[in-house]
């Protein structure tokens, strides 16, 4: 388990990320987990007949990958206040996605030690398809 992150140690501009392979098997597992069985996510012929270059990653999966990024980053004692993303572009499957976060603001409010983040999902060439924001509460030392 990762060491606990403390608010005192956070600096604005700090970045973190994870790299996630998006195999067709991964998308099938997500379909089972989410109940989203739209064929553009697992049926090559169906996707191509809908003018897509390949099967594409579910938007909601990308949103939840961002949730995992911030959940793992905050540690057991941190708390996710909220996170959200916009779906601005499609990501073909069978490529790695870069799920990233960057600290934009560190502050205290209502007795809580908070951190605002920019978050997102990017393709291997750096194309940003899923920008968003998050707010996390962290423990103080």
């Amino acid at each position: 388990m990762a060491d606990q992150l403390y608010w005192d140690d956070i600096e604005e501009g700090q970045e973190f990320n994870l790299t996630e392979p998006m195999s067709s098997q991964r998308l099938v597992i997500w379909a089972a987990a989410s109940g989203d069985f739209y064929q553009i996510h697992y049926d090559d012929d169906y996707a191509k007949n809908n003018n897509l270059p390949d099967i594409i990653v579910h938007g909601a999966l990308k949103g939840m990958l961002v949730g995992r990024l911030v959940d793992e980053w905050k540690g057991e004692q941190g708390k996710i206040k909220n996170w959200g993303v916009s779906y601005r572009g499609m990501d073909p499957a069978r490529e790695d996605l870069n799920v990233w976060g960057k600290v934009t603001k560190k502050y205290e409010d209502g007795g809580e030690a908070l951190v605002d983040l920019d978050v997102g999902v990017a393709q291997p060439d750096g194309t940003q398809t899923t920008p968003g924001t998050a707010t996390i509460s962290l423990p103080k030392r």
């Binding site: 089972a32 949730g67 995992r68 206040k81 968003g132």
Partner: protein, 156 residues
């Protein structure tokens, strides 16, 4: 292509604030594990209830964002349309999650959705109707609101 609208019609204006659906979600332990697997979690607490309890959880925790699955109805049904939408093609514009209380395998949640705003806009796909909604998830066993989600839908 849908008829161009100068403004929201009366049905659309009346739909803002109205309840659009009330759905029961089951958070099963297997569902929680499958979600964690799909999203790539490796922390034992999301798979092993014993480990989770050693960390202070009261059961198998659902990873953030997992709010169960709606009970499947083979006869269809589901969300009611509160107005006739002239734009037939739809995109998911985005999602926001506000976790409020820990969700556990075994929880049953009631989800109540409302449209919070409707707006006409022009885009590269032509005229669009942008719909914002909020869903509140309440645990049936204790009446605690465990999460809110907000979504943006784009019809064109």
């Amino acid at each position: 292509m849908a008829e161009q609208l100068d403004d929201l019609n009366d049905d659309m204006k009346a739909a803002v604030g109205q309840e659009t659906g009330r759905t029961t979600y089951e958070v099963t332990t297997q569902g929680a594990r499958t979600f964690a697997r799909a999203v790539g979690y490796t922390a034992d607490k999301y798979y092993d209830e014993g480990v989770a309890k050693e960390l202070g959880y009261t059961g198998l925790p659902a990873a953030p964002g997992f709010l169960g699955m709606p009970v499947f109805n083979p006869k269809g049904g589901g969300r009611e349309e509160t107005f006739e939408n002239p734009f037939k093609r739809r995109l998911n514009g985005g999602t926001e999650v506000e976790p409020i209380d820990q969700v556990y395998g075994g929880d049953v949640l009631e989800a109540v959705s409302r449209i919070t705003s409707l707006e006409l806009a022009a885009g590269r796909l032509g005229q669009m109707l942008i719909s914002s909604s909020e869903t509140v998830y309440t645990r049936e066993s204790d009446g605690v609101v465990v999460a809110k989600t907000r979504g943006t839908g784009i019809s064109y």
